[in-house]
């Protein structure tokens, strides 16, 4: 079947380390997922260098402990087809804020050596690098931020612009000599939300050869998320919108779903980031009901086939678009 033979990359699985177990890995493999990007540093924890190091080590240790036979950390592009061949889940180590580098570019190099391959420049707020999407000021990429983007290009870390404010994102796209990604976003053109990306950003990132991972959080997909959550059609609508605007070579899967999420987890996040309190659905409706566990991933392929996408385009959307970016960034 098409899905089974495809390289499938989900550029954000936000499951916390302590909730990762052998069952989690099994579900990913059952869903035909080849590789996932994981967030190694808790955005609501302490975000210094030591915690950056700790997070990277912790995720590596966790996967090695819970399922060493069926997981592997991705360090280079060829690791992903290798994972597919060997029946393993490829784990791409990422961060959703580069605060842990503090004010020191060398820390980026240290993180790279420890396995970091995707780095999101900011979370919701302003940091030394630039502005997050929740900041009303919509500030630019800072001087240090410009150095960070260039260093990431040199080292081979994918610049991720999810959560990044519009001005900072557009600046990063301009400064970068390599393609960039928005790992987990939806289209602001369909649903106004500070976390969704504007048409300007869609076009700019595509022009640089980048890719957008379509997210599966109800809040970003639809307006009436509080009452009904969201379903596959809602997600596909955002995917179609992006494909129509920037073409099927620049869109992919970035679900932003976390397994075993609790009320407590969500409360802690929203206490730290109260901007998330608006339009908050109940936990049961938080994630798209058709995409809220990894084993449901084949539904995407099924739906794309029905929608009339070509096999080549489907493979690109499922994973080859992101693989192309990885090759250009990591080698």
């Amino acid at each position: 079947m098409l899905h089974k033979s495809a390289v499938v990359i989900n550029t954000l699985d936000s499951t916390h380390a302590e909730k990762i177990n052998s069952g989690f890995v099994g579900k990913q493999l059952a869903g035909g997922v080849t590789a996932i990007n994981v967030t190694c540093v808790d955005v609501i924890g302490i975000n210094d260098f030591s915690h950056g190091v700790y997070g990277l080590k912790e995720f590596r240790r966790t996967f090695a402990k819970v399922d060493p036979e069926r997981t592997m950390v991705v360090r280079k592009t060829s690791d992903i087809p290798a994972a597919k061949k060997e029946g393993k889940l490829g784990v791409i180590l990422g961060m959703q804020d580069l605060r842990p580098i503090e004010d020191n570019l060398d820390h980026l190099e240290v993180f790279h050596e420890l396995g970091l391959r995707i780095g999101q420049l900011t979370y919701n707020r302003q940091n030394l690098i630039g502005c997050g999407c929740a900041e009303p000021s919509n500030g630019p990429l800072s001087l240090f931020g410009r150095q960070v983007v260039r260093t990431m290009n040199d080292l081979g870390i994918v610049v991720d612009l999810a959560h990044v404010g519009e001005r900072t994102a557009l600046d990063a796209i301009e400064v970068s000599s390599k393609p960039l990604i928005f790992s987990h976003c939806d289209a602001r053109g369909l649903r106004t939300h500070f976390r969704n990306i504007t048409d300007a950003c869609l076009k700019a990132v595509a022009a640089k050869g980048g890719v957008v991972g379509v997210a599966a959080m109800s809040r970003f997909l639809v307006y009436d998320c509080v009452t009904r959550g969201s379903n596959l059609d809602d997600w596909l609508r955002h995917l179609d919108y992006m494909v129509e605007m920037i073409g099927p070579d620049h869109v992919g899967i970035g679900l932003d779903v976390g397994q075993s999420r609790t009320e407590e987890d969500v409360n802690r996040l929203n206490t730290r980031f109260p901007e998330f309190l608006k339009d908050l659905p109940p936990l049961s409706l938080r994630f798209n009901s058709d995409l809220n566990t990894p084993d449901k991933t084949p539904k995407i392929t099924e739906a794309l086939v029905k929608r009339g996408y070509s096999e080549a385009d489907i493979r690109n959307i499922l994973g080859l678009n992101f693989l192309r970016v990885f090759e250009q960034v990591w080698g």
Partner: protein, 338 residues
């Protein structure tokens, strides 16, 4: 210098198991001296002993030395495995082994040791002069041996494949580590307590345990460790003093267990010495003038071929000379790093 000594020296792998020069003093000119002296591999101390000794500074130190040597790829190579030293010899490059002289930068977290290893650390001295979370240094009047955490650290050192270094370590702690370690151990830069009683020198009890563990001691070139205070302060030390310490180990424990670990720091200033002695006042009693601090025949890399000449003159065979020059330490590296 006889031509046969010169030839033997140039052919040999020469390992200096401790040079305490600061990173910025490894200038192209200094590196040229090292090359002229036929030095193949050097263990460098990446984290300063008088600065802040936390994890960040540990990372900083390792990265600082890495960056510095990486900036001169035609002259330098950083050692990750034993073969890198052999390659360096073949290609005429200087091999640098990243080490630390204290485990304080790992704080209370063995994970940090793993991170340092990933960043290139290959030699770990478990304490400096004082008591830490790991155990006791040689200047502590009361040494209670390896702590629980210290035992875990030794196991981790073995597991990761770091060379366990016991210079500066207190006697009880060193004996505990010697007993616990499952891989050969070194004293990278020390002298013999039976010849000169000094808290930094190594007792026969430790030397015996070292031999049993198939380890190696690198003989240091600091005058105050080599000879008595009066002589050190009056006229420093010469090659003869250093060779006497080498002879002691070779005769009593075997030529397989001794090597070179000079502990010389290039361009050391009086201020730097004052800073070290201020932090470690146990070093103060000696007041050796700066010009006598290091052995006059070993205080600069281009003088190192004198060791080969001196050993041959003493009647050591060529193969024994090569062991002392570097093959003994290479044996340790092979067993620990592969």
């Amino acid at each position: 210098m006889t031509s046969s000594a010169s030839k033997l020296h140039q052919q040999s792998i020469v390992v200096n198991m401790l040079e305490s020069t600061h990173s910025d003093k490894y200038t192209p000119q200094y590196l040229e001296k090292m090359r002229a002296g036929g030095i193949t591999a050097t263990n460098v101390t990446t984290v300063g002993l008088v600065g802040v000794n936390d994890f960040s500074h540990g990372v900083y130190g390792i990265r600082e030395f890495t960056r510095h040597f990486k900036s001169m790829p035609d002259r330098c190579t950083i050692v990750k495995k034993t073969r890198d030293i052999e390659e360096a010899k073949k290609n005429g490059k200087l091999a640098f082994i990243l080490g630390v002289q204290d485990l304080m930068p790992i704080e209370d977290n063995l994970d940090h040791l793993e991170v340092f290893y990933e960043l290139g650390l290959r030699i770990a001295q478990i304490t400096y002069n004082r008591q830490t979370l790991v155990g006791c240094g040689c200047a502590e009047p009361h040494d209670s041996g390896l702590s629980l955490f210290g035992r875990e650290a030794v196991k981790k050192i073995n597991e990761l494949g770091l060379v366990l270094d016991l210079s500066h370590v207190g006697e009880r702690t060193a004996l505990d580590a010697l007993e616990l370690s499952t891989t050969p151990v070194v004293f990278s830069h020390s002298c013999i307590k039976s010849i000169k009683g000094h808290f930094r020198n190594v007792s026969d009890g430790c030397l015996k345990a070292l031999k049993e563990k198939n380890g190696v001691i690198g003989i240091a070139a600091m005058s105050i460790f080599l000879t008595n205070i009066e002589e050190a302060n009056r006229s420093g030390s010469r090659l003869e003093h250093w060779l006497r310490h080498v002879d002691y180990v070779a005769e009593k424990y075997g030529v397989d267990h001794v090597g070179i670990g000079l502990d010389v720091g290039a361009s050391r200033t009086a201020e730097e010495v004052a800073m070290l002695n201020s932090r470690f006042p146990e070093f103060r009693g000696e007041d050796t003038p700066l010009e006598h601090r290091f052995n006059a025949d070993l205080n600069s890399p281009e003088k190192i071929p004198g060791i080969t000449e001196g050993l041959l003159a003493r009647g050591y065979s060529e193969s024994d000379v090569q062991k002392i020059l570097g093959l003994n330490f290479m044996r340790i590296f092979r067993q620990v790093w592969g």
